[in-house]
Amino acid sequence: MQEQLYQFNLASIGTPPQALIVRWLWLIPAIPIVTSGVLALLKQPRQRLSAGLAIGSLSLSLLLSLIAFVHVLNYRAMMLGISQIDHYAFNTAAHETVNLSWIQVGSASVDLGWVLDPLSAVMLVMVSFVGLLIFIYSTGYMAHDENYTRFFCFLSLFAGAMLGVVISNSLLLLFMCWEIVGLTSYLLIGFWYQKPAAAAAAKKAFLTTRIGDLFFLLGIVWLFAQAGTLVLYKGGGGAIEPTALAGLLSQHAGLGLSAATAIGLLIFAGAVGKSGQFPLHVWLPDAMEGPTPVSALIHAATMVAAGVYLIARVYPLMQAGALAGGSTTALTVITWVGAFTAVFAALIAVAQDDIKRILAYSTVSQLGYMMAGLGLGGVAVGMFHLITHAFFKALLFLGAGSVIHGCHEEQDIRRMGGLRAVMPLTFATYAIGMLALCGFPLLFSGFWSKDGILEAAVKWHPSIAPFIMLVFGALLTAFYMTRQVAYVFLGKWRGDKPAHESPAVITVPLAILAFFAIALGAIGTPAWPWFRAFLDGRAVAFDMRGFAEPGLLTLMCLSTVVVFAGLGVGQELYGNKSPSPEAPDRLEQLAPHVWGWLRDRLYVDEFYAATVIAFYGWWARVSDWLDRRVWGGLVAGVTWAFGLWARLIRFLDTNVVDGSFDKGCEELNVGGGLLARLQSGRVQTYLRILALSVAALAVILIWSSRP
């Protein structure tokens, strides 16, 4: 069972010794998970120790991730030299994997394993780096919480499981870590479980994502049944490598879909649940009931991106069967769901008043962009937006946390205002995050990543509609972010107690994230598309002619105009107006009905309450009736019958069994008394009996020896 198969994908070009970092890659998730186990055993007051352990373990993971990243860079450079000769060898060798056999059942074996390739390396660094900053931020943000140790225990467990999702080379291992991630999300949303809203939100998040996970699990089981393995890359024998995919494509699943498409859609359903895409997005805004660092880490930067990462990870499956330049059914579905979610959530975000809820809907919207990017342009397009979004959205959430902290736990943006003067550092970093999210031209990372998605959308053959939706979404994004910033930072203070700037432990992570919110754009510009080349496995050189691609400049101008339009309208409507908290919103005055719909989140929750939840309520009542009347009656009948039987047995017992037993005991007692009388305790009586016996014996002997 412990047989270890160190797989190597370099079959065609010989086998170089496997790098140490690949073999020990499992340490990256294992260290935080073990730490969380240790933290679970610590007493609550051990604040410094628990924070130190959590931060230390994640720093170690970050260090290992960086080593892995550098290794991939070197490996890539070496492989690029080889790929000049043999492109096929390059493609198969891109993934360094270690696979272990876990369970052997007959001829089928379930393998676990991990993979190091550009995709996982980038995610590893992003998750551990953003995670580390948020851990540090949490030491300040949660300093006065009585369950400090528990918080870091959960955070560590989350970080470990998330890193596990990232490095998994087996859908089964990925699913296990995926579920642990879901569990920690549940625990952390409900961290302040004394609040009924938090407990309800945690339950909602858990149940909603469970729906997606159920489909995901079905997809996994189906894939195992068809491909016979769940390992993704295994030197040509993996589930998403050409051999297996060809088999999947030839299977028909009904409705004109191939098995590959059907499995792809099932897996996508899992991603829909985790990444808050349209039908299952309802849990994510409610998840903001958790502590703000949790919102930043789990519900903005990493966990919700896990769905996007999953699609990127199994991209060959999604893409299977596509002709050159064409799209597949699975990718089309992903595109439409993503584009729709992007616009839908952006619309709702316009009319929200809770600072974190706006960001939550913005996250849903941006996740839609990532999904659309994956569907339209491939792994690199979606993943680039994922990485840039992780930084600027973590920045925005941590900034929002700083604002909430400074405003004495106030979350309603109508009761803030004028914070630019009071919290200059928070304002500066928040503005950077906001501009990056809006896609402010040239300077900010969000512009380049969003532009990549729009560029892919405009080239998409089946329909131009996703492009229009995404551009509209960009307009809305710029608008609602301007509205939020105007409410929070501009105008004059409308709260009760004066606000204050947050301590350095909170502002320093903000500054670092702000730096990356700007700088990350540099690795994805059309002139130097390093990120895309890194993921696709091509060489890259700096070339200004990248901008000269037909239509690209027009597109950039268009998106610039859109962003400025959104910013301008927002500034016109809300800038420096400082309306009183009770006054109706400017848009509400213009179109009260539409505003009402948007403020009530387009009634998705109400729709679910009226359909799914109502059905389950009815079904629960039916089950309750069945339980009480039918099954309860049955059980009561059986109980009654056994009671009767028991009474009969008791009668037999007292009158028959007990009577005879008592009699026997009495006899024994009498007999024992008789025998006991023989033992009188008088030595001479014994001696007398002995003497008489000897005499009798002598008489008998003499008598019997008579001739």
């Binding site: 033992q679 009188s680 008088r682 030595v683 003497a691």
Partner: protein
């Protein structure tokens, strides 16, 4: 029927007499020490038998009977010591050596 009394038979008669005296003493006396003396008498009657059977047996030249008797005397001495020890302890405990009153070890 006439019978001739051989030396062996004489010894055996003396031994039997000795045994009977010992037994009578052990059975009739109430004093524990006198009972012990009676038991010693019975033991010595047995020893006398051992010596007599050896002396008039088929191999008087081997010292087996003598050895047996000496062993027996040694064991009897040890036994008498233990018995007297017990009697002394009982006396200290119950202030009496009357055997009829020492009847607490009964069922």
């Amino acid at each position: 029927m006439t019978s001739q009394v051989t030396p062996l038979a004489g010894y055996l008669l003396v031994a039997a007499l000795l045994f009977s005296i010992g037994l009578a003493g052990a059975l009739t006396r109430r004093n524990a020490i006198l009972v012990l003396i009676g038991i010693e008498l019975m033991l010595n009657a047995a020893n006398l038998n051992l010596i007599a059977f050896w002396r008039y047996g088929p191999h008087p030249e081997a010292l087996t009977g003598m050895m047996f008797a000496i062993f027996s005397i040694a064991v009897a001495a040890a036994e008498a010591a233990v018995g007297l020890g017990l009697v002394i302890q009982i006396y200290r405990h119950a202030k009496t050596t009357d055997l009829d009153q020492m009847n607490r070890m009964k069922g």
